[in-house]
Amino acid sequence: MTAIQIIFILSALVILGAAVMVVSTKNLVHAALYLVATLFGVAVLFALLDATFLTVVQVVVYIGAIAILFIFAIMLTRREMRDQGEQLNGGWGAAALIGLLTFGGLFLLLGNWRGFGATAAALPSGFDGVVELGTALVSTDAFVLPFEVASVLLLAALIGAVYVAGTKK
């Protein structure tokens, strides 16, 4: 049981435990905070996968912006300071069944794939993920077009969010 495996198992426990708490807790602000724990576990997983840039971007974008946005929205849309009543709707049994079927289906589908048990190849020496990523995002025969389209999407989302959520006189 190497140290890396122990770290993986710990972060997997945090991710899954916090995810289950996100979907089952009654108090919505707690759900948002459990989401933060899940996102942090995913960031640790990215670090294990040698994707260092994605680790810090996960923390900055997801935890530093999206989770805070969730917490603000939850606080702005509550009628009392406490949550009451059942948080699961009537069809939660069917939903649990669908979830289990999805997991089983994915497990069977991937299990029959020949590359399922592959181990990681060693990183080539002098491999700098950040430089590779940066070059790929702006070089014309790589991914500059999706990059620019994503920035247009973000601009559209910015204008849309400001318009939709702005107070109308």
Partner: protein, 102 residues
């Protein structure tokens, strides 16, 4: 060493939990939380496939970054909509937002 299967099973489990959250919760914001879990599961899958498969092509990480951007855009607009609906109808329970039902 960690085989690829561990990452894939973890991502599948996280996706299933997110799917349960989307289908079974009443509050509109809780549904969006479930969507975030699903997007994170997808990201884990993408980066794991990059690391264990095509190390030379950085497409896995680029795809994950685009997913970050899309998730941020979707959360911003989605929460803006939820807040706007709350201002008008004073509720965020998804079942009660049935203005277009006949």
């Amino acid at each position: 060493m960690i085989p690829l299967s561990w990452y894939l099973i973890l991502a599948a489990a996280l996706f299933s939990v997110g799917l349960f959250g989307v289908l079974a919760r009443k509050n509109a914001i809780a549904i969006l939380l479930g969507v975030e879990l699903m997007l994170n599961a997808v990201n884990i899958n993408l980066v794991a496939f990059w690391r264990y498969g095509s190390l030379a092509s950085i497409a896995g990480q680029v795809f994950a970054i685009i997913v970050f951007a899309v998730a941020a855009a979707e959360v911003a607009v989605g929460l803006g909509l939820v807040i706007s609906v709350y201002r008008r109808r004073n509720t965020v329970v998804a079942d009660e937002l049935d203005l277009m039902k006949w």
